[in-house]
Symmetry: C2
Subunit: 385 residues, 2 copies
């Protein structure tokens, strides 16, 4: 297999973008990535998207986007793995370039969520859980992650304040990210006074509903070296794993087995350990998810994630900066775009182009993208080549 | 890139299967393919599915199926490219095995369509067309293909009888395929007396709404040789191409550019020409689609497809047997399953296990899977290794 580099990145503003359609967002991010890369064509395209069928009544969006991008008749395929659709699409692009089948592959993630009412969006999102055994019982994602939070608090003494501090940190980081949905700095009091959604999770424990797109251009590392003036970033490892769709079927609520397995694969492929990672973007769909994840990735001992956040270890100047972009909570969570946006943000970090959120001189970065209640997880390790 | 073999095949009965859920169908086909292959595990899984989101209110079906199959925590990813979802998933599996990333990859196609009313299913299907410029104007797929038929008749003198003969042939073939949805033999008169759907297409010009699943297990050719007692079939070539999502944007209605491009890639990769193909399964979503396709694939000159069918050249004992399984028209069209089912049927042909529909001693076979109104096409060439 050939080594694979990320040679171009593009990302739209995230937010409630009522003046932009899915097509507009997809093209904006894609063109930015093409321009950033310096390539003059693409050979093949993957589109990570969760729910265009129910959110904008349009399936089959991959050839649509390829055509509007002026790249018809290239192969174009949509990848859907719930909230992990973006990173699952990245993995397809990685394999296609690694295999030798194509030299220039674009991976786009896009979601247009605000053209429907919030209850409709919540309905669409709920289809990522087990419809027969969870959805029909009325359980939504905040409720599923509330179960995780309750149990984590019970087993490890994780506190309400520690949950709040995840949101506080990520809003603070987002406030300095011009593409982020939210720029308001919040306090633990703000989180705890925000409306209760599913005990113990308040509104500010939950990532928002967002429109947005992100894109990367992949090439073989050897050819990337001849291409442009960016510091070259390669995909050193990528791992994907699955778990039961319903959480009642699992042995544990406080740990996500798919995160553990996907990380194992990615660390092995990249020949890295958790302590080698200089910066990470993780899937904080809910505050508790970030705490579980930084434990499952091996950054901190199981049960010590909340404490680590409280001690500032995941701040931008901390031991292992987590979600310097603002994460899903602060930057926004356009579902299919999220996994690709994490890669865009980490490439910016590794190039030293992350602006006010720049972590000091990172060489190795990790992205963690989770679908449903952890039924799909993709972990990607990037490295300066 | 490594050469890739199809080492196992499985397929359910196609039809209105009200006693089976998507989960049931997926597992039935998958287990049959695993048993047929003789492997004791799978490394990774792709699930081709068009519309579980709107048809059964369940997205994120890949990890769900992997888990119910007892293969959790393997990577599992859903591929959606409208009616070409199945073959698009096959291409992913092909690349993963060819790249060296995995040795045993399952590709499943599945669709559960009859749990909703027919208008709801027609709505779901319509989301594969351009929602903004076609769907909102009230145009459905029968109407889109009626435009194709009208123009083909105008330009080339294709006759009403020739359209009917596609349905007659495919019903005849289906009558001998135990897994097919329809076993009734029909006449040209039956087609022409069936209700008008969109002039000139009658009900019997249209493929049906169907439940079903099909699965294949892929392995590197070298390892496949050590595995089992089947005649070994390899994927000699696979090509995918895209076109505009809306047909009003195309230069021609009578030819599908994505078919031409995808075939070009597949023929080149396999080092074959149209005249080398011994048997084909093509995407006859409507009778006119089969006529256009056998021209676009190079089996017959443009405009001569109808004549070829009338002259029996595509019969099981004809020059180039087309849709010996019964095709979408007779076998049924569970959207996401169709592209994988074509591979299952062709592997049966190449192994000499196609029963009453067996073509005489075929060595090379071609599958053609089309999405939307030809916005995605995948052409696959199989060969006895």
């Amino acid at each position: 297999m050939r080594e694979v580099a990320v040679v171009g990145i593009g990302i739209t503003k995230f937010g409630a973008l009522w003046d932009k359609s899915l097509r507009d967002l997809a093209i904006e991010a894609s063109l930015e990535a093409i321009n950033d890369s310096g390539v003059d064509h693409i050979d093949s395209m993957y589109v990570g998207n969760f729910s265009a069928g129910t959110l904008i009544e349009q399936e089959h969006i991959a050839p649509l986007v390829a055509d509007y991008l002026g790249q018809n008749p290239i192969p174009a395929t949509r990848i859907e793995n719930a909230c992990a659709s973006g990173a699952s699409a990245l993995k397809m692009g990685f394999i296609e370039v690694a295999s030798g089948m194509s030299d220039v592959v674009m991976v786009l993630g896009v979601e247009k969520m605000t053209d429907v009412t919030t209850p409709q969006a919540v309905y669409s999102l709920s289809l990522a859980a087990d419809r027969e055994y969870e959805g029909y019982q009325g359980i939504t994602f905040p409720a599923l992650f509330a179960l995780v939070a309750k149990r984590h608090m019970f087993e490890f003494g994780t506190t309400r304040k520690q949950l709040s501090l995840v949101a506080v940190k990520n809003h603070k980081n987002a406030s300095k990210n011009p593409k982020a949905q939210f720029h308001n700095i919040i306090t633990t009091e703000d989180v705890e006074k925000s409306p209760m959604i599913a005990d113990p999770l308040h509104l500010f424990d939950c990532s928002p509903i967002t429109d947005g797109a992100a894109a990367v251009v992949l090439m073989p590392l050897e050819k990337a070296k001849k291409l442009n003036n960016h510091k070259i970033v390669k995909i050193a490892g990528i791992g994907q794993a699955s778990d039961t769709i319903a959480i009642y079927q699992r042995e544990s609520f406080v740990s996500f087995n798919a995160t553990i397995k996907a990380a194992e694969i990615a660390y092995k492929m990249a020949d890295k350990r958790p302590e080698d990672i200089d910066v990470a973007e993780v899937h904080d769909c809910f505050t508790i998810a970030e705490i579980c994840t930084i434990e499952d990735l091996g950054f901190f001992e199981k049960g010590k994630g909340g404490e680590a956040i409280e001690n500032g270890l995941t701040d931008i100047d901390g031991k292992i900066p987590v979600n310097p972009s603002g994460g899903l909570k602060g930057k926004g969570h356009p579902v299919g775009a999220t996994g690709v946006a994490q890669i865009v943000n980490l490439v910016e970090q590794l190039r030293g182009e992350a602006g006010e959120n720049q972590v000091k001189d990172p060489k190795i970065a990790l992205a963690h993208n989770l679908g449903g209640s952890g039924s799909t997880v993709v972990v990607t390790i990037l490295e300066v080549a």
